[in-house]
């Protein structure tokens, strides 16, 4: 490498001086490369770590915080989960970028010894009106289905939003959930002096060299020259790697194991040694490779996919190796565990790098300056009185149902195998997916949520709402909110304004999690999400899992039968700020976000959950984007084989009808139940002080909504379904 190369590797002059101080000499090419990736935001979190520390690590369930993923313990069963971003690679090569994102997060789960049982994906794109956004959207979906379907892990949920702030910088956040007996878990550590370090999986090529530091830590400009190579995902090899790894762990001969994700060998060697408080001596000649004459630093930086590093108990190498060979994978002992706390990398015996593991993994921590953006003053200025009410509420509702962010997502999730492993009892299309835990009568519910428009206008409240809504979705499925993973997608942290967003979102997550008493067990940070036009909306994606205590008490969102009573738990306020309706009908991203009162939220959720668990509820659906009217429509039509109308004639709040129908007041759940259950549910609501109101009745072939005595909405279910059900397909294929 030429002098000053460290800059092109993303290291600052200051960081370079720091490295000289640590080594007390000039770094070799390999050492420089290793520092550059380990200290990049992607691996070392230098700019975000200080703030990640404030997230609660304990909650109502016993937590496990691992090196890669984290999880909770339920009846001796470990539920491991994590979310990770693959934004920049997906923007560069949508299909392979998304595919390798899925592959990476799956490895984070089974590297802990847990069998992956579900995937979710939280996606954000620019508007589909632009051809290039369409191309990225199609490519990303293609990549997720290509990888997820083949690897045999059901993709059971997720979310998709469209907003112009994501034009030129899409977001692809993938979440994976795995389960294991608590006793089967392994750590990503190199322990046991003299134990062997074994490389397993695919061979190494020059894939994505420097991708980790350069790709993930620099704003991506269209047509930028320093374009990194994107990796190709190989779900077939990953599937074999899952089986081989779990089989190997089962032998008890695996002392530690870690997946080679970002920064491949560098990340694995240094982080495993550091976590094990040990050292490692590795010979690069033993690394299986795909290409000729690769430089040592290339081998250390390569991000070739589907590889793991295993710490194997001394003397058991052959037994472990046999398993990987049986599955058609590479397996090669490349080194030993030492006790000198250093990572020593050799090429033909010659030392090419020797660095204290801790100095690599303990990246410098920067205290980034933050400043409230000036534009917020203007953006939050908003007077409802200046907004004309719609003349035709039917039109307004139909239009809102067709908005891609609200419309039916079946076009996407029907391309995902969401049933393999025969655990999915609530399929995509309801508030949260539910998976049974075979051999128990419990089930897991999972969801991802984040309204980035809220976070843009008020990051603290926006993040709290993301947590509240995720919990609400779980409750509507009959689950108790249990624990959180997050994926923090933000713009360039060197801009005080975008760091202000980062800080406030994290504080919002912290406070909301504390009030729900749920821990953040894992997560991931993606900064520098900027397109040539702008930085993205702050997007702290929340992944939350919940526990259903009795499989047969699971609940879904669609009305089940005519003649049921429709109940609204929660309060509707005169709020239109930050709503989808305001953006759609008035082209305004303005106003203050809906008020969120976490006490009220919990009251509503506790009431709904108890009613569901007592078997009193036939359907439950939360109100989110599009407000009450959209939520009611979804209750009517979201099971296309059984659409059921409703007559909502008892809604007299004295607030404007547009706010009542389309406003996004928080902490509201729509329930349907048999007439006979109404009083029981009322009592439960009373007990928790949750606002309760019978607002109508199911049945008929139309959705009819009155405000006071005025009938404002009356639409045939077919029309509702046509707009909502067909919209996405029309906008993509049409």
């Amino acid at each position: 490498m030429k002098p000053g190369a460290y800059r092109s590797l993303g290291l600052s002059d200051q960081e370079y001086r720091h490295i000289l101080k640590i080594l007390k000499r000039k770094p070799s090419d390999t050492e420089l490369a290793m520092f550059s990736v380990e200290w990049s935001e992607h691996c070392g979190y230098p700019r975000s770590r200080k703030w990640l520390k404030i997230l609660p690590k304990t909650g109502k369930y016993k937590t496990l915080i691992g090196e890669d993923a984290g999880g909770i313990i339920v009846d001796g069963l470990a539920i491991i989960f994590k979310m990770e971003s693959h934004n920049h690679p997906s923007q560069v090569e949508p299909k392979q970028g998304a595919a390798t994102g899925v592959g990476g997060i799956i490895r984070d789960i089974f590297t802990a010894g847990a069998r992956p049982i579900a995937l979710l994906d939280s996606l954000r794109f620019g508007p589909l009106t632009q051809t290039y956004n369409k191309y990225i959207f199609r490519g990303v979906i293609e990549g997720i289905q290509f990888y997820g379907n083949c690897v045999g892990v059901p993709t059971v949920g997720g979310e998709i939003y469209f907003d112009k702030s994501y034009t030129g910088n899409c977001l692809v956040n993938a979440m994976c959930i795995g389960i294991a007996k608590q006793t089967e878990l392994v750590r990503a550590r190199a322990v046991g002096l003299g134990n062997s370090i074994m490389y397993v999986g695919s061979s190494t090529g020059r894939d994505g060299i420097g991708g980790c530091s350069i790709l993930a830590s620099h704003e991506f400009k269209e047509g930028e020259e320093k374009r990194p190579t994107v990796q190709i995902g190989d779900p077939f090899t990953e599937k074999c790697l899952i089986e081989a790894t779990l089989e190997a762990i089962n032998t008890g001969y695996v002392a530690g194991i870690k997946d080679m994700g970002a920064a491949g060998l560098t990340c694995c060697t240094s982080e495993m040694a550091s976590a094990g408080n040990s050292g490692m001596d590795v010979e690069l000649q033993a690394v299986p490779r795909r290409e000729e004459n690769m430089e040592p630093w290339e081998l250390m930086m390569s991000e070739s996919q589907e590889r793991m590093l295993v710490c194997v108990k001394k003397g058991k190498e052959e037994q472990v190796k046999k398993i990987f060979l049986k599955w058609g994978l590479c397996a090669s002992v490349i080194g030993k565990v030492t006790n000198d706390k250093s990572v020593t990398i050799r090429d033909n015996g010659k030392i090419v790098a020797r660095i204290k593991a801790h100095s690599l993994t303990r990246a410098p921590v920067y205290d980034m300056p933050y400043k409230k953006p000036a534009h917020l003053k203007e953006a939050t200025k908003f007077a409802l009185k200046n907004i004309p009410e719609p003349k035709d509420y039917n039109k307004a509702l139909l239009k809102l149902l067709a908005v891609p962010s609200i419309a039916n997502k079946a076009w996407v999730y029907e391309q995902y195998d969401h049933m393999v492993q025969v655990n999915t009892i609530v399929l995509p299309g309801s508030d949260a997916a539910v998976l049974r835990l075979k051999g128990t009568d419990k089930a897991i519910a999972a969801t991802t949520d984040c309204n980035s428009r809220y976070c843009f206008l008020d990051p603290y409240k926006g993040a709290q709402i993301a947590i509240a809504e995720a919990a609400r979705n779980l409750v509507c499925s009959g689950a108790r909110p249990a624990a959180v993973t997050d994926c923090l997608n933000f713009g360039n942290p060197e801009k005080p304004e975008s760091f202000w967003y980062f800080k406030n979102c994290i504080e919002g997550i912290r406070d909301a999690c504390k009030s729900f008493n749920v821990a953040v067990v894992s997560g991931n940070v993606s900064l520098y999400n900027e397109s040539p036009q702008s930085s993205i909306n702050p997007t702290p994606t929340i992944g939350m899992i919940g526990i259903v205590n009795h499989v047969d008490r699971v609940c879904t969102q669609n009305f089940k039968q005519s003649g049921d009573m429709v109940i609204l738990l929660g309060r509707s306020k005169e709020e239109l700020g930050a709503s989808e309706y305001l953006a759609e009908a008035h082209n305004m991203i303005k106003g203050s976000v809906p008020h969120i009162d976490l006490k009220l939220e919990q009251a509503v959720q506790k009431a709904a959950l108890e009613a569901i668990e007592k078997g009193l509820v036939n359907s439950a659906h939360d109100c989110s984007e599009g407000g009450l009217a959209v939520a009611l429509a979804e209750c009517c039509i979201s099971n296309k084989n059984k659409i059921i109308g409703a007559n909502i004639d008892n809604l007299d709040y004295n607030i404007r009808s547009d706010a009542l129908f389309f406003g996004e007041s928080q902490s509201r759940i729509i329930i349907s139940c048999d007439k006979a259950s109404v009083e029981k549910i009322r009592k439960i609501a009373l007990k928790f002080k949750a606002p309760f109101r019978v607002i109508g009745k199911t049945g008929g072939q139309v959705l009819r909504i009155l405000n006071g005595a005025k009938e404002l909405i009356c639409l045939p279910l077919e029309d509702l379904y046509e707009e909502w059900g067909g919209s996405l397909k029309r906008k993509i294929e049409g």
């Binding site: 560069v92 090569e93 392979q96 695919s202 090529g205 020059r206 894939d207 374009r227 190579t229 994107v230 990796q231 190709i232 190989d234 077939f236 090899t237 795909r290 290409e291 070739s304 996919q305 058609g328």
Partner: protein
């Protein structure tokens, strides 16, 4: 009428899992002496045109814009009279 045969393959530096899998399959069928196997895509166009020169440029454009992603793929094409 012109016929354009476009071959799209992954760049040398990019892993080709499919090619590798095909290679193993061929080897297990007893075919030795394979130095390399790469898989790719083929697109065959028929163009109502006589102007080979113009076709050259058009097909070049098609590859750049739609058929191949220059970040991972490379393409070659051959245009012949029909």
């Amino acid at each position: 009428m012109l016929r354009a045969e476009i071959s799209i393959t992954l760049k040398r530096t990019v892993a080709d899992p499919q090619g590798l899998t095909i290679r193993h399959a061929l080897e297990s069928l007893g075919y030795k002496g394979l130095a390399d196997v790469r898989a790719g895509k083929l697109v065959v166009l028929k163009l109502n045109s006589q102007n080979k020169k113009k076709a050259q440029q058009e097909v070049e454009q098609m590859c750049k814009k739609l058929l191949a992603n220059p970040i991972i793929e490379e393409y070659r094409f051959k245009i012949t009279e029909e």
